[in-house]
């Protein structure tokens, strides 16, 4: 019997999986303080990132064409693992403060990372669903991690219900496509579609594609499928909100990009049209509602909805450059948002308050460096040079203009002008408003380290973007070949 097994195709996943087992064992047999589990997790994720860097350039399809290891999946591995690394750094003290026996925080984070990695390396719809579910099912309990806060559980419940509906839509869409084509393998689907005529006239097939788009739109929170986002983001513990905004979004978009490039070439016209509307509505709604928010977590939740819209602009253009710019956007957003939420983690109090806009008042007097970094992150989110966010928006919009979507690009730029208002309000509060008296605790080392890594990323991608953009181009090329 012949088996198509090449274990190096899933080497990064194996590393994360083994780390998960080691962490679980240590967690089960250790006492109250759980930071050692976090340290092991950090080493594991670090090893995972190293292995992904080491494997750069390889192109392996294995396990009966279930998973592929190419530059695309490797770049997204690195993206989600960086998000995980910063999140664990930030949470080292937080977890022990919040839960007396909270080691499962790290385990759930690792297993969601594992799910994300299978999600972006999948070349079969079965593995896409499995990866997506492993990711989501690990994130739901993380949102409800702070069990004594009612909003935390409420956010988890809403996220779970809408996430499960999204899964059902995705699965049903896959079942419909399977019922037309008789396969779930992405390459086989692509081959059948490229030879078949009039597939866009097949109602069942169109319904399948639409259902899959709806399912993914739920996961990355495109308007009008965004209802869960503000509640889940506000209810979740601050580090997890950052992780969700960065990694969950990056992984889900990774799967979308892969499916769009490999499979949906022959559906390009209707898909691009649907994405055009989704991105326009998403950018507009996210930014407008964010203006009205008083709670910073909720504000950044709506802002993350808007940012998903900007990523979709890159997808709409449909060119290799557009896709690469979307990948670049995901990486830059990962650095920016995990850094921002690291600072919010520091401000968040044990009862879950501390993330109102008024809590930022006068922060610059007590923490000048932290406030400066927060201002940089906010400028990056708004898209002001010389930050990562500016370059990301520049690439995405220029890709759209090159492909002739000038209206969408102008609309996107206008909405990002609106967004400047609420990002600058945080900066204004930090520098020009009077503090209401804050109990001054020193910044924990973990949070400081996480913030500096994120800052390094934001500056690096803002000043020298071309190297990373080249990697993004290579990653997209590895899918097309």
């Amino acid at each position: 019997m012949h088996f198509d097994l090449n274990y190096s195709a899933i080497l990064p996943q194996i590393i994360i999986g083994v780390t998960l087992f080691i962490s679980a064992t240590i967690d089960a047999f250790s006492s109250a303080r759980k930071w050692p589990v976090g340290i092991i997790t950090l080493f594991g994720i670090g090893a995972g990132i190293s292995s992904a860097v080491y494997l750069w350039g390889s192109n392996i399809v294995s396990f009966s064409q279930m998973v592929s290891l190419d530059e695309f999946s490797l770049l997204l591995f690195i993206t989600v693992m960086i998000a995980g690394f910063i999140t664990v750094l930030v949470s080292l003290k937080y977890v022990d403060d919040m839960e007396p026996d909270g080691g499962h925080f790290y385990l759930l984070l690792l297993s969601s990372l594992l799910g994300m990695m299978f999600l972006v390396s999948a070349t079969n719809l079965i593995v896409i669903v499995l990866g997506l579910e492993l990711m989501s099912l690990s994130i739901y309990p993380l949102v409800g991690f702070t069990r004594d806060r009612q909003i935390s559980l409420e956010g988890a419940m809403k996220y779970l219900i809408l996430g499960a509906i999204a899964t059902a839509f995705l699965l049903y869409g896959i079942a419909l496509i399977y019922s037309v084509l008789g396969t779930t393998n992405l390459y086989t689907i692509a081959r059948i579609l490229s030879t078949a005529q009039h597939m866009t006239g097949n109602l069942v097939m169109m319904a399948g594609v639409a259902f899959i788009l709806i399912g993914f739109s739920f996961k990355v929170a495109l308007v009008p499928f965004h209802a869960w986002t503000p509640d889940a983001y506000q209810g979740a513990p601050a580090p997890i909100t950052g992780f969700m905004a960065a990694a969950v979004k990056a992984a889900s978009f990774g799967a979308i990009i892969k499916v769009v490039i490999i499979v949906l070439q022959s559906f390009h016209v209707p898909v691009a049209e649907a994405l055009w509307w989704l991105s326009a509505v998403t950018m507009f709604t996210g930014n407008i509602i964010a203006v009205m928010q008083k709670n910073v977590k909720r504000m950044l939740a709506y802002s993350s909805i808007a940012h998903a819209g900007y990523v979709v602009v890159g997808l709409v253009s449909g060119t290799a450059f557009g896709m690469s710019s979307a990948v670049f956007y995901l990486l830059s957003y990962t650095f920016t948002i995990t850094g921002s939420f690291a600072i919010i983690t520091y401000l968040e109090k044990n009862d879950g308050t501390g993330s109102e806009l008024s809590d930022f008042s006068g922060l610059a007097k007590e923490h000048p460096i932290l406030s400066l970094i927060m201002a940089v992150f906010m400028l990056s989110l708004a898209g002001i040079p010389p930050t990562a966010g500016f370059m990301a928006k520049l690439y995405v919009f220029s890709a759209a203009i090159k492909s002739g979507y000038i209206g969408l690009a102008i609309f996107g730029i206008l909405t990002s002008v609106i967004s400047l208002y609420y990002y600058l309000r945080i900066v204004y509060a930090m520098y020009f408003e009077e503090s209401e008296g804050r109990t001054d605790t020193p910044v924990p080392a973990g949070i400081a380290a996480g913030v500096f890594i994120a800052l390094w990323g934001v500056i690096q991608l803002g000043i020298l973007p071309s190297d990373i953009m080249n990697f993004a181009m290579q990653s997209i090329q590895s899918l097309i070949h």
């Binding site: 719809l125 079965i126 669903v129 579910e133 099912l137 079942a175």
Partner: protein
């Protein structure tokens, strides 16, 4: 005769109906458990398609294996959901989703 054969489209219709009933349940029910049952219906609708078409048009067993995985996914989802519902019940003594409205805006 109308009742003579089961064709592929019958399976599509059945699973479509089941999916619609599930969506209806999700949209109209307020009890968290009932909403979860609606979601189960939606997932099982997909399973019907997978298994039926695996028998009819696939040369391999992809669809049936996929259905096994989706059963496990559904079970895991329910387990996580129940765990969260229990935690909510412990703090608020209700599982009515309409009463979960602390977060707004």
């Amino acid at each position: 005769m109308l009742l003579s054969t089961i064709t592929l489209s019958d399976y599509l219709v059945l699973s479509g109906l089941l999916f619609s009933i599930g969506v209806f349940g999700v949209l109209t029910r307020k009890n968290a458990i009932a909403v979860l049952m609606g979601i189960e219906l939606m997932l099982n609708a997909a399973n019907i398609n997978l298994v039926a078409f695996s028998k009819f048009i696939d040369t391999g067993l992809n669809g049936q294996i996929f259905a096994l995985f989706s059963i496990v996914i559904a079970a895991a989802e329910v387990a996580v959901a129940l765990a969260i519902v229990i935690s909510i019940y412990k703090t608020t003594r209700t599982i009515d989703l309409d009463k979960e409205d602390t977060l707004k805006g």
